[in-house]
């Protein structure tokens, strides 16, 4: 029985003979004996594919992954959107899947042109002229945005709304340990950033989320004004689905847009691989993190695409690079281009609209349940936080028993002491509705919630 190694006994013999060796071990003979493994790896021996499939069947069994069977009302950057068969088929074509970074453009026009189209789409959705060829996810894209702001301003202070996704803020704090950025968090009041409560002087960036992670559409003029007043960059983290109908980051005056691209054709996938969207103004182009594809011509003067402005990148600029990113999320970027091609101009609008319609419908119905109240009185888009009369985790557990993933408990998502919500988080649940949720499912949600909070 085979694994994936093509070497026959005869091949091995011939190759070793050619090398003048008589065993494979000899190839490793120059490794100091003191550190050589003598007994091999302490792992089970190899199994056949069907045997491994059996092992994995345990991980994915009804017991191992109940969550995969529930009707999903959870969001927070990870959304249960329609991914049609056509997008799955195209994005899994092996030419896209088994290529690497397009270092040889003559045989990589497929990936290069797909990225070019992706960059165009991200640029249009963000309202900013420059988009890169993808970053890991929204959280790390935000870190790159802060590094850009710091490079642009020569400053270290980052003023961040607590309306930014709690995980993103956490990631920002982690990487600040290396960059030395000073992170100043701005609390929310009734779901809206209380910019007045902080001193933004000397800030490199003003960072806001739109809609914020609680779903609230904040008026971004305030953040923009603050950035202008302090000569800071305005960095907006935006929901790219909502971006199909809301004012763009560019229209709000943002210098940098970051977003989570998962909604564009990538499954929930337990959180990854996702897709870090990134766009910025032309002024920042020399500080752009990661790859960018540009149009050019070949030696026969035909249009061709190639990665460009490479002098910013780590392989050339090394310790002075704008970012350390190398392997990124190209396949997800290609997938996003395909999914957005499928949605088209009006499909994305329709999806965004249906999300909002579903969310508002559920919100209105849920508020009819005794003891359930809204956390904020502000206009929201497709996500909203509810305060329940009981511990949210408990309620979610009970709802799961009825086949519904009722949302995310804020105590788990944000952690105690988070400044996005006034008062205790314990009873707060963040609820999301996508275009895949039917009225029947929403009605059932309300029923199940009603029973669970009783």
């Amino acid at each position: 029985m085979a694994d994936y190694l093509p070497h026959t006994k005869e091949d091995l013999d011939e190759m070793l003979e050619f090398l003048g060796m008589d065993s494979l071990e000899q190839l490793f003979a120059h490794i100091p004996a003191a550190v050589r493994l003598t007994q091999g790896l302490d792992l089970e021996p190899g199994m056949s594919e069907p045997d491994v499939a059996e092992v994995f069947a345990r991980y994915t069994s009804a017991n191992g992954a109940q969550a995969s069977h529930l009707t999903c009302f959870a969001g927070a950057g990870a959304y249960d959107h329609e991914v049609p068969a056509v997008v799955k088929m195209l994005s899994s074509r092996s030419e896209f899947v088994t290529a690497y970074t397009p270092y040889q453009p003559e045989v990589a026009q497929g990936v290069l042109q797909a990225i070019f189209e992706y960059q165009t789409l991200v640029s249009r959705l963000s309202g900013l002229p420059i988009a890169n060829a993808s970053l890991y996810d929204a959280a790390t894209a935000l870190v790159e945005a802060l590094n850009m702001a710091s490079g642009a301003t020569g400053r270290e202070k980052m003023v961040i709304s607590a309306g930014v996704h709690p995980h993103w803020r956490e990631v920002v704090r982690t990487f600040a340990q290396g960059t030395g950025h000073e992170i100043v968090e701005v609390p929310l009041k009734d779901g809206v950033t209380d910019w007045a409560s902080v001193d933004a002087s000397g800030a490199a960036a003003i960072v806001a989320a739109y809609p914020n992670y609680l779903g609230v559409m904040e008026d971004m003029s305030a953040a923009k004004q603050l950035s202008l007043d302090n000569d800071a960059l305005l960095v907006l983290g935006a929901d790219p689905v909502a971006a199909g109908v809301l004012k763009t980051a560019g229209q709000w005056g943002a210098d940098v847009f970051v977003g989570e691209g998962q909604p564009f054709g990538t499954p929930l996938a337990f959180g990854g691989p996702y897709l870090g969207l990134f766009a910025c103004t032309i002024e920042q182009i020399r500080r752009l993190p990661g790859r960018i594809v540009g149009e050019t011509v070949d030696s026969n003067d035909r249009r061709a695409f190639v990665t460009t402005l490479r002098a910013r990148e780590q392989d050339i600029r090394r310790e002075k690079a704008t970012s350390n990113v190398c392997t990124n999320q190209t396949l997800m970027a290609v997938t996003a281009a395909i999914q957005l091609g499928w949605l088209g101009t009006y499909g994305l609008r329709e999806v965004a609209t249906r999300c909002a319609q579903g969310a508002h419908f559920l919100f209105d119905e849920a508020l009819k349940i005794e003891g359930v109240t809204a956390v904020s009185s502000q206009p929201f888009f497709r996500e909203f936080a509810l305060r329940l009369p009981k511990n949210a985790s408990e309620v979610l557990r009970q709802m799961a028993g009825d086949g519904v993933l009722g949302g995310l408990a804020l105590s788990a998502l944000a952690g105690d002491g988070d400044r996005s919500i006034e008062g205790s988080l314990e009873n707060v649940v963040l609820v999301t509705v996508t275009e895949r949720r039917t009225r029947e499912q929403i009605d059932r949600y309300v029923d199940v919630l009603r029973r669970a909070v009783r």
Binding site: H7, V52, G110, E170, T174, M217
Partner: protein, 504 residues
């Protein structure tokens, strides 16, 4: 007549038929056309204007593209035909480990039981996923000889930076303010870039004439301000750092930590473990060693494993087996915090575990053995044509040099690489590592057969012959590819990175 010929259904750009350019999806767009279909929800269709205050609504419609499903399929299928890939042919791109990736692992990653799980679902509902992660962490630790790991970093470079933050946290916890990190001059660009982002200064250590870290220079650079050293072993020249134990003790004695850049782990699986060599922090490129297809540039995954004294600093939350034998999320006591929005590139992690399980300890050991065998065979086979930069037993890749061809015939490494495309192979990595002139870095990987390597060698011999007989033609190679040699300078000089920047 208004109708423009627009090639939605025309395959002239697919190499099977011709060599026209493929229009962009925007050029194919026709107002009023669409492909999307959404389910009937029966949710009341309240007008958006009633749900969203007008100050927030975009007055403009954002134009994406308007194409039929048919044109969408044709466009991306044709684009795929303009793309080389491992599944089409050998891809000996050094440092990138472009091995064949089992389709079985793709199937694992497509399983809705894993793929449809929301990352924020309560732990009770995702015990299988948590067990998978714990199992993978355990196996990666066994493979590297470390004691605990984070699976969050999304790629190698993210692992590097995570590792440097761990290094920083460790020293800080010891009240030890160190400022420099040592890096050999042969290191991959992500290493110095990560060091900077980790808040350290780079001190470059020269290589000696054997292609290895100059031990004396290293020792001279050490001092109480050195936080640690980043090494990949085998290094980027494909050579094993034989002085590794001496390096390790020197660095440790100076109070520094050793960081292992695991991009080259494929060379040493089952032969030697970073932990046993004395490394404190190890990142792995799962997309290189553990067979995630590279996706045209990603996704990957870059877990970081550490020795026990660093375990407390790892990012969290981590999937953990609790005392009752079930699984939960726990954040290590002195965690540096999250380095990813959720739990890392989970589907890549699942693939890697499947790959490890299929191979087992014996299979992984063979992976490294055959990878090293292939590289050495190719190096020797090409001895007369493209000599190795360092004439020694190499590990899983070999760095050859085209300096001969250049000085004699004016043929550069790049020309060889481009001509190889016409020969049905992807190019090796060119001009890396920087310390080798006209470097051609070949990494055949273990999944290519002897017969394919022989075909590759013959192709290179043909190119070398063309260098003698028709050098001019090599400057114009490749010609049979979907586009010929691309004007890179123009792209940079005159940036057109979106359809809107292009004046069509």
């Amino acid at each position: 007549m208004r109708a423009q010929a627009q090639p939605g259904g025309r395959a002239a750009s697919a190499p099977i038929l011709g060599h026209e350019i493929e229009p962009t999806i925007f050029e194919m767009s026709v107002a009023g056309r669409s492909a999307y279909q959404l389910r009937t929800t029966n949710v009341p269709a309240t007008p958006l204007a009633q749900l969203v205050p007008s100050a927030h609504l975009n007055d403009d419609v954002i134009a994406l593209a308007e194409v039929s499903e048919r044109d969408l399929v044709a466009h991306f299928t044709r684009l795929s035909h303009r793309q080389f890939s491992v599944d089409l042919g050998a891809y000996p791109l050094g440092s990138c480990t472009m091995k064949y990736n089992p389709k079985f692992c793709d199937a694992i990653a497509a399983d809705p039981g894993l793929n449809s799980v929301h990352p924020g679902a309560p732990a009770e509902l995702i015990q299988g996923w948590l067990e998978l992660l714990v199992t993978l962490e355990e196996k990666l630790c066994l493979i590297t000889g470390m004691s605990a790991a984070t699976l969050q970093p999304a790629a190698g470079a993210a692992g590097e930076l995570t590792g440097l933050l761990l290094m920083r946290a460790f020293h800080t916890a010891n009240g030890d303010a160190r400022t420099r990190v040592l890096i050999p001059d042969s290191a991959h660009g992500t290493n110095p870039a990560s060091v900077t982002l980790g808040g350290y200064e780079v001190t470059t250590i020269p290589s000696n004439d054997r292609g290895l870290v100059d031990l004396e220079a290293l020792k001279a650079a050490l001092g109480p301000d050195v936080a640690g050293i980043m090494l990949t072993n085998p290094n980027t020249v494909g050579l094993f750092e034989e002085d590794i134990t001496e390096i390790a003790s020197a660095v440790h004695e100076a109070g520094g930590l050793l960081y292992y850049d695991g991009a080259n782990l494929n060379a040493i699986l089952g032969a030697v473990r970073p932990g046993d060599m004395g490394f404190d922090i190890v990142h792995m490129n799962l997309h290189k060693t553990f067979a995630t297809p590279h996706g045209g540039g990603g996704p990957g995954a870059g877990p970081v494993a550490v020795s026990s004294r660093l375990a407390d600093f790892l990012p969290g939350p981590k999937a953990t087996r609790n005392e009752q034998g079930s699984f939960e999320w726990r954040t290590p006591a002195r965690s540096i915090g999250r380095v990813h929005g959720w739990h890392g590139n989970a589907m890549v992690l699942a693939r890697a575990l499947a790959y490890i399980d299929v191979h087992g300890g014996d299979g992984l050991t063979r992976v490294a053995q055959y990878a090293v065998l292939n590289a050495n065979w190719l190096k020797e086979r090409l001895r007369a044509t493209l000599p190795a930069a360092y004439d020694r037993v190499c590990m899983h890749e070999c760095v050859l040099t085209a300096t001969n061809l250049k000085s004699k015939y004016g043929i550069r490494g790049l020309d060889v690489a481009k001509a190889l495309l016409e020969e049905g192979f992807h190019s090796p990595t060119v001009y890396f590592p920087l310390i080798v002139d006209e470097a051609l870095m070949f990494e055949p990987t273990e999944t290519e057969s002897l017969q394919t390597l022989e075909a590759l060698a013959q192709a290179i011999e043909r190119i070398a012959e063309r260098a003698v007989t028709d050098p001019e033609s090599l400057h114009h190679a490749p010609q049979s590819t979907p586009v010929s040699r691309v004007d890179e300078a123009r792209a940079a000089r005159h940036l057109i990175s979106t359809e809107d920047a292009a004046a069509r």
